[in-house]
Each structure stands twice: as structure tokens, then as C-alpha cells.
Symmetry: C2
Subunit: 390 residues, 2 copies
């Protein structure tokens, strides 16, 4: 009790000292009612709602906005705390008052995508296969229209219009967030000054096939029932979803991370003698994925996969899409990335240069492989500050 | 008919010209009855039988033998043709009369492992979970004892003893074959002159976890029934096995290979509009894996995974195992390898040097990633020749 009191008192003192900065770090999850939406391919969604959060203030010229786009399993919580004492957003190290993406200067917006994975999470607001189809009063399931990465961008564009944003000083995101950055740069080149795609290159056929490997366990789960698992008396395909998340989790990490768990057996297990026994790292992945499955929706996973596979699907070639961009690029690869190998990022940088785009590259290090671009961005703060000043 | 006749006549002429060389290239699949085997962990297998093939002649000193160890989904067919007009072995470009591993000089042996995957294939002879347990008259299923990579080596050692081999001029293999090479170097250091592990480093925790991802679809398939799927009226878990093989196939290839299939839809499919529709590369993987599943056994897949996970399980550390080796090493990594990333191979080479082993490195290139080490070894022929002359 005594120790806790001292910690609390210190926190109070520090909080008082930082005053306004601390208050600014509390963010509020908001809901944008985007109305009826016709997908790029002609599908219709009666009511689109997505969640978002902002920090900072839009200036009179309406040109100091920054858009942050989230990764495959993420949501809008990129910065700040949604509640006092709650966790900070995944890029909080580089976004906030006085930080690299300085909310004293920029109006930073981050939104949930369409068909966001985290349906059961109270801090996620999305529209997707688990949403109610007003025509039937039941969840869409697989009758929800296929959406592309470009559809994500169109819904975000409506949100920015609604917020009064005219110009984006920066669009930045990690992994699937970086794919949205690239789609933004091609779709609305005239309104974007800078882009920062982190830990991704344009989706290639090998990525497309991996996305299918990720989702396969969901389709194999008998509880999936062709996506029709919502409602009373039915079980969602949690085993398949957990296995899908296990693959994503492992591929998003790297050898250095795995060494921490080692080659040892799980407690009480003897895999050298019993075929059903487990190793510690298998158990860790089982537990992490099972927990994640409970706050995720299996159909949303399938729709997200498809949106990623439909990356740049409105352009003849990635080169044609990149050539449309008018922004300055800061490309951030991770050398140990097993989802988007760094060779692919280098090829993308070559393509960008070939079509005359101004590009800088800054690597993000660490033992986490792909995930370094989500959890390890702090060392790049100064580089990002310089990029924003250029 | 006329054209065929000319081809046949030419073949006859060429065959006559090459004479003995051609005849030597026909290999015969043989069976080694290894008898009762007690696993390193105390399990018992009543009768071990494995298939093997040889080319060349053992000399009087019995020291001109070469052992070739196969990859995860392979068998002993590394060189030669099992029938006139049939396909050549996977490393035929570097093994044969006058080739890098010259069968005019070396006695080359290649054997099927325990728990080989290709159970329904007529050219594979193995003992594993699908074998009949003489105590029950029924297939072992999961009652077959867990076997380790070291058990593979012990059975091969019996085969070499049976053939009269005293000394190995070379032990070479790709992928899981390279893991056997490393186990051989540590288990019988005094009998080996040279080792050539291709496209692998010692199994690390990240590999161990991937192996579990590979096998997970088998365990998810309701037809698997805890391994008890043999016999009348039962269906083997072909869907799960095919999905497992799909993951292996994709991870064993690389981005350059995938580009050939592109981002296009499968014929008659429209994945931009229909959630159940497929892309061409997905269809290619589906078809390849489904075909492979028909000549594979799901339980054997699980036992192979476990044997790989138990790599070097009798040594405190990989370093301790490598320190036992007395051989010269030629390590062959592939830069685009997504199963055993080249950084890991470089770390292994550092470890080998730290413990004082003589090591050379030769990279194998090509668009196939990991598979370059199986299908693309021809350019390394001269390097291997030099290594064998050293």
C-alpha cells in the first residue's frame, strides 16, 4: 500500500508538471456515420459506420492534417489513451504533443477500416460481414460485398471531408496501413505532401498466396458454415480463427524473438516421447492466438485478406500506380521482415525512383521482424521529424 | 510415327555412344531389412525396413562412400532413373558418372528415412505410423514411437554397416537432408571426411514453430481422428494434409517464382466480386497440394515434423554438437530461402568457425528460394568437384 501510494503521488506530481500535455494524451473514440456506400465494384452497403480518433487541431488553411492507417489486426488506436491509466496506442512513441508527429502542430486522424477484424472489441467501430443487413435484419455474412483496399480509402476520404481536411501533410501506416498509404498516394495524389509506408511493399503474388494460407484454417473449421455462424445456438469458428491468427503472429515475428522461448518442452510435456505433447513456443502461440480469436471475427478476417489481395487492383501495374503519386516518400523496411521481405521493399524503392518520385529509406531494427514497424518505431522519431520538416 | 522413329533411332545411337555411362544411370530400388530397432528414447519398432539405392562401387579400403540424405518430402531417388525413360533423381545434375559427385570414383548411397512421407508411392520403402504393428496386426498410428532426427541416422548407420562402408568421403543433403548431414557430423565424426549441408541451418525455435504451423491443418481435419484413420470405411485426412503441403510448397518457393502466376484471377473466377472465388496462384497451390496429398501419409507428416523439431536434441547446444565434427564443411545457402533464412545460415557458419571447423560457403541462386537447393544445383557442380578434391 505504501509503495502504491508513493507511485500514485509521483504520477500525480509528474502529471501536474506536464499538465496540458497529459490532458491532450487522452483521446476519445468517435463514430463517423458515412451513410450508404457503393463499393468500387458496384456492391452496396446500406449504412457505413467507422470509428476514429483525433489529436491536435485543424488549422484555418485545413492543411495540417496527418492520416494514420492501421495494420491488419489493428484499429484506430495509434496514439494516446482511450481512458486514464489505459494502454497507449501502438505508435504513441512517435505521435503526440512534442513528438515526431507533433500534435501541437498537426491534426492527426486515425480511423478503423471497413471489415475491421476486432468486431467484439468495444473500442472498434466497423462495418462488415457481422453487421446487420437492414434488408434482412440479420448479419450479412458472406452476402456482404467484397471490398478492396481502395474502398477503405474511399470511406476514409469521406471522413476527412466530414472533418474539413483539405490537404494531408502526411499519410503514414505500418503493414496493411502502409498498403493504404500507397493506395492513398495513387488515388488522391494532389492532396498529399508526404507518405510514410512502414514494413511493406506493394502486394505481390507471393504475398497474395500467403494471405490465402493465413485464412485457410477458417474455411476448414466446420463451425464456419460458409460464413453463416452468427446468431443463437451457433458457435463461431474459433479454432480455425485461432490457427489463422497463429500463422499471422509467427510470420510477423522473427528468429530473434523466438530464441526467447527456445527449443524446450512446454511445462509438463514431453514431445520427445508423446506425439500429442507440445513445445513451449507452440504453447505460447496457442495461448496468444486463442486469446486474440475471442476479440476477432472470422468472416472479417476473410474480408480483410481479400481487400489485401485486391491491392492496386484498379491499376495496370504497381509502377502505373506509383507514377501517379506527387508526394515525398519515406519508406521504412525492417531487415528481419518475413511478411514483406526487405528485398521486395528495395525493389519498390527502385520502382518509385524509376518513375521519378523523391524517396528516402530508413530501416527499423529490433528482434521482432515485421512487428518492429509497429512496436519499435521510437528510434526513428528524429528521422521522421526531419522528413516532416523537409 | 516417322518423327518418333527418328528420335528412337537417335536415342539408340547416342545410347550406344555413351554405352556404359547410360547403363550405369539406371538404378535399382532396394530394400534393407534393419530388424528390430530401439529408438534413442527407448521406444521399440519390431521390424524396420527402409528403401535405398546406390551407384558406383565400394573400393577395397571401403572409404570411397558418399551418403545422400533426403529432404522433408523426398525419398532416396536423388540420382539416376528407376526405369528406362523415367524421371531422373532430384540431384542428378551433380551425381552420376563423370559428374561432380562422380560415381566412377565414389560409391553413392541414398536411403529413405524412417517415417517417410511418401507412403503410397511404390518407389518408397519406409517404416512409420502406417506400418503394421506385429503385436496387433493393425497399423501403429500414433502408437508408433516418436523418432528423432538422430534415429534416422542410426538406421542409416546400420545400412552402411550392412553395405560394408567404413568411411564416408562425403555426407550431403538438402533441407531436412542437411539436418541429417549435421546430425551425422556430430554422431560419427571419426568416419566422415566432408559434409555438405544445403539450404539449412540448425533448427532454431522459429523453425520449430513453423513446423507446427505446417502440421496444424492435419490435426484440424475431422478425418484425422487422432491418427486412427487407416482401414476400411475410413477416409484419410486429405484436406488437412493438402493444406499442410500447400504451406510447405509456398514457403519453399519465393517471390520470383510467384510472379510467374501473377495477381490474376483463376479462370472463370472473379475474386473481386465473389468471396468464394479464387486467384490463379491459389488454384495452382490447391492443385499441386491435392495431387501431392494422394501420395503422402498424414501421420508420417506429423512424425517427420517431430523428428525435425527434435533436431540436435541430444546435445546441450548446437555449438556443442558442431564442435564434435571433424569434417571439412561446404555450406550452401540460398539467398531467397524463406524456410531457413540466409542470416541463420551465416550465423551457423560463424558458429562452425568459432569452434574451429574448416568451412567454405557457396550460395545457390535462382528464383525458387529454398527449392533452389533441390532443383537448381547444377551451377555448383565445379565448386563441389573442387571441394571433393581438397
Amino acid at each position: 500500500m505504501g509503495f502504491r501510494f508513493i507511485v500514485a503521488a509521483l504520477a500525480l506530481l509528474l502529471g501536474a508538471g506536464l499538465g496540458p500535455a497529459r490532458a491532450q494524451e487522452l483521446v476519445q473514440k468517435q463514430v463517423f456515420e458515412a451513410g450508404a456506400y457503393r463499393t468500387r465494384n458496384g456492391g452496396t452497403i446500406a449504412n457505413v459506420r467507422i470509428g476514429y480518433q483525433t489529436m491536435g487541431t485543424l488549422n484555418e488553411a485545413r492543411d495540417n492534417a496527418v492520416l494514420i492507417t492501421h495494420f491488419f489486426s489493428g484499429n484506430s488506436h495509434a496514439f494516446g489513451r482511450l481512458a486514464a491509466g489505459g494502454p497507449v496506442g501502438y505508435w504513441d512513441a512517435i505521435i503526440g504533443p512534442g513528438r515526431a508527429i507533433d500534435t501541437n502542430r498537426y491534426f492527426v486522424v486515425s480511423s478503423d477500416t471497413l471489415t475491421n477484424l476486432n468486431v467484439p472489441d468495444v473500442n472498434t467501430v466497423t462495418t462488415g460481414p457481422s453487421s446487420i443487413n437492414p434488408d434482412t435484419g440479420r448479419p450479412y455474412g458472406l452476402t456482404f460485398p467484397v471490398v478492396s483496399m481502395r474502398d477503405f480509402i474511399e470511406v476514409q476520404k469521406r471522413l476527412l471531408d466530414h472533418l474539413g481536411v483539405r490537404r494531408l501533410a502526411l499519410v503514414a501506416g505500418a503493414s496493411m496501413g502502409a498498403l493504404q498509404v500507397m493506395e492513398w498516394a495513387a488515388a488522391y495524389p494532389e492532396m498529399i505532401d508526404r507518405v510514410m509506408p512502414v514494413i511493406a511493399h506493394d502486394v505481390d503474388p507471393w504475398n497474395l498466396a500467403w494471405l490465402d494460407v493465413w485464412e485457410a484454417p477458417i474455411r476448414m473449421d466446420p463451425n464456419w458454415r460458409q460464413g453463416d455462424y452468427y446468431g443463437q445456438g451457433r458457435q463461431p469458428p474459433l479454432a480455425g480463427l485461432a490457427e489463422a491468427l497463429r500463422i499471422v503472429t509467427l510470420q510477423s515475428r522473427d528468429r530473434g524473438w523466438a530464441r526467447g522461448l527456445g527449443m524446450r518442452a512446454a511445462e509438463g510435456n514431453d514431445p520427445a516421447r508423446n506425439m500429442m505433447d507440445r513445445f513451449a513456443i507452440e504453447k505460447w502461440l496457442d495461448d496468444a492466438a486463442t486469446a486474440r480469436a475471442r476479440t476477432s471475427d472470422a468472416n472479417a478476417f476473410l474480408y480483410l485478406v481479400r481487400a489485401n489481395q485486391l491491392f492496386f487492383n484498379e491499376y495496370e501495374t504497381p509502377e502505373a500506380a506509383f507514377a501517379r503519386s506527387q508526394a515525398r516518400w519515406l519508406v521504412v523496411p525492417s531487415p528481419g521482415d518475413r511478411v514483406f521481405p526487405i528485398e521486395g521493399v528495395r525493389e519498390m524503392v527502385d520502382t518509385l525512383r524509376r518513375v521519378g518520385r523523391p524517396v528516402a529509406v530508413a530501416e527499423v531494427g529490433g528482434p521482432l521482424g515485421h512487428l518492429n514497424g509497429v512496436a519499435g518505431m521510437a528510434p526513428l522519431a528524429e528521422r521522421i521529424r526531419v522528413f516532416l520538416a523537409e
